[in-house]
Symmetry: C2
Subunit: 453 residues, 2 copies
């Protein structure tokens, strides 16, 4: 049983395995502040070279990508492992119990900036490779590695990097370890994200604010103009009325519906977490609405006087910001154009500004390769993984699924309370070690299936 | 011809007549800053006593009212003259060409804070009385005077003062000289004001802002809640849909329609003044909508993130302020209750807060006494006055028409470019003197009509 060999090896080497993680945690790599980023990339590169991975730094217009290959012409399957070596700024420093860049173990957790997000998981991936090599010998699949240095600043050059290196990045599956396991400790496989389109609507009345008594009923009010427009864009049940908005949405498969039903949902705890205790919906509805349906959210609106009391004016301008989450296969640019067309029809003098977007992405949960990964994760963690067809938020997962046209699975290794982006970020040593086991066993299982086919 | 005698007397005394005005202009009376207010009241009182007016300061919870009476049991008609002796703060001081409290004549105008608003007009009223007495001898009507010291801070105690002194204030007509003549130089008689109700609507979603990706479609958005509510309150043509909103509105009489038609209207100049050059409406429509119809104005709205770019949140709260101008006989409290009832029906969790109100007021333009004043003003100015049934803004005119149940006419004396509330406030000497003539001739004409009846 290979999984037992893997476990034994990891168990026997757990102290030694902390070394490379500590090395990276001691090295700052704050992408937002351009602090230590390239030094960290070089450390990652050395670590990979020691494992026999052919490694190079590939420049982008921002921080470099550490790219690696461990190839054997005999192998038929190629796994592309993605992670990031950059971290969030550590501030507020006074809230840390130990220095964020001097890793410390307390209560069987390693505390440091990047412990969970993402250095702990990146090192677990590399040590998984090492573990496989040392327990099983030859790699049964080809491996490619993309470790970027800009994830914490929005992966701003990842899409162009992938676009420019399509040939180099050819693979059969993209495997990411980032994010957290479910609160229950259950491993999670995440197969997609919602996309996003951010826009601003600006309505104008007169060229200046006017006295509401001396001009009321004469000067048009831009707030009413926006309101009237918005009401043509969405009905009272939240359905978006923009022509073609729902056109390209992939309906949920029966299997995805089953997956949603299986996801744990504690209404009370979710209600408390989001500050909305009156939440009333089933878990299935919750996950469907949250991950598989688009939103039409207003994230800000501003016009006129908003201080204490009253200032009797007719505002000259009203501005409203929306972020619209999208699901496969809605295209943000297509949706933006449809909104523009709608606005020209209903309120031609309202200005629509594009603020940003990200494409949605989803990997078919019924693919054999997804089932293979799920089986490996199940065995590695002794627990059936929760398979979430998509998450509610947006990540640049489309660079794999759309640009490279590859299936993409995200398998988080960090504990749910890792405190990523917060003070006292940590990874449980147990989770770090499980991650190593998981990576090795995923490699083993993918290799086994590849040989069988 | 009494009007000629009056004119001659004013002409002969014009230099001397500047004295009492200068006395008041040298005396600060900034109600908002409680600077010199009572000293100014005492000066006004002395001035009135010199004319033989029985005068007293009547305390309010704020600044005192200077009250006066010039009564003769033989007279059957009583005119109540209203004005105010307080002024706006003079800031910004650096924009004044001369000290705001050291009156200076330039280009046949007297420059000082209060020159037009309202000391120049108040003194013209008193000098009108003096002129009448000195040219004609005995007063043909009874006079009462209410000069308040809080007009510039919203006449906050005027209603309770009037309520408490109904008997003392008994009269047949209230006569106010405040505001400006029309730009054409035509005298104006203003017969009413719109009322006002100010409210705030507050909608709540969750207890805190939430991430729009991780909670989109789960947490309700308070902006949409407000929008949906507002769209039940008003249709796209601006018609208010709140039950009973229009119930008590007095329809325009044929005569009022004629008056509106006669009011001068220069679309281009109005459009430029309000910063809305695309203004498209007839003068009649303009004045009807501006003065005789209620508004349903949003003067401010605020929710979520409104800075640069985007912040992808679902806001927890949305707040919107409205000021709703009302026309006779809409009652602000009744309208507030109707709005509350509407909101409880359509969005019971939206909070409605009362921020303030003022009652609308209008004097019937067809009253004989109004026609008498119009005739006197016509003769005094050699020009037919523009009779405006109401103005778009709100003033506490209802204290006369509703609490005292009296007709009320407003006859401005100051030039249209008096710059009230602004630096370099002024009154043209010519306008100041015309005001004196007008007051004396109105007294004369009212007396004549009273004797004839």
């Amino acid at each position: 049983m290979s999984i037992e060999k893997i476990r034994d090896f990891v168990s026997a080497n757990q102290l030694e395995f902390l070394d490379p993680l500590y090395t990276l945690l001691w090295q700052k790599s704050i992408s937002a502040q351009n602090d230590g980023v390239v030094d960290c990339a070089n450390l990652v590169m050395e670590m990979m070279k020691e494992l026999g991975i052919t490694t190079q730094l590939i420049e982008t217009e921002g921080h470099p990508v550490v790219f690696g290959e461990l190839m054997d012409p005999a192998n038929t399957f190629t796994l592309l492992i993605y992670g990031h070596y950059d971290v969030q700024p550590p501030e507020p420093l006074e809230k840390w119990e130990s220095n964020p860049f001097e890793p410390e173990i307390r209560n069987a957790r390693i505390y440091a900036r990047g412990a969970g997000d993402n250095k702990g998981q990146l090192v677990a991936q590399l040590l998984g490779v090492k573990t496989y090599l040392e327990t099983m010998g030859k790699m049964p699949i080809n491996l490619k590695f993309v470790f970027e240095g800009e994830e914490e600043i929005g992966s701003i050059h990842l899409a162009s990097f992938v676009e420019q290196h399509k040939e180099l990045l050819k693979a059969d599956l993209v495997y990411t370890s980032d994010g957290s396991l479910h609160e229950s400790g259950s491993p999670t496989i995440l197969l997609g994200v919602r996309g996003m389109l951010a826009i601003e609507l600006e309505a104008k009345g007169a060229d200046r604010d006017n006295h509401s008594g001396n001009n009321g009923n004469i000067v048009p009010n831009p707030v009413w103009k926006l309101l009237d427009l918005l009401e043509t864009m969405r009905d009272k049940n939240g359905k978006v009325l923009i022509e073609g908005f729902y056109d390209n949405i992939l309906p949920l498969t029966e299997y995805e519906k089953q997956l949603l039903k299986k996801l744990p949902f504690d209404k009370k705890s979710v209600g408390e977490k989001i500050g909305y205790p009156q939440l009333e919906m089933s878990g299935e509805t919750y996950y469907r609405k949250l991950t598989m349906e688009p939103t039409f959210n207003i994230c800000g609106v501003e016009s006129g006087y908003t201080g204490e009391g009253i200032k009797t004016i007719i505002p000259s301008t009203a501005r409203l910001k929306m972020d619209i989450r999208l699901v496969v296969n809605q295209d943000p640019i297509d949706i933006f154009n449809k909104i523009k067309a709608h606005v020209s029809l209903h309120a031609p003098d309202v200005q629509v500004t594009y603020l940003g977007s990200m494409e949605p992405s989803r990997t078919n949960a019924e693919l054999e390769v997804v089932k293979t990964v799920a089986q490996a994760v199940h065995q590695a963690f002794h627990t059936e993984p929760l398979i979430q067809p998509a998450m509610g938020g947006s990540l640049p997962n489309y660079v794999w699924t759309k640009i490279l046209e590859l299936p993409s699975v995200i398998v988080p290794y960090a504990n749910f309370d890792q405190g990523n982006h917060s003070p006292n970020e940590n990874i449980k040593i147990h989770n770090f070690l499980s991650g190593i086991v998981c990576t090795a066993h995923v490699i083993h299982t993918l290799g086994k299936v590849a040989r069988e086919n």
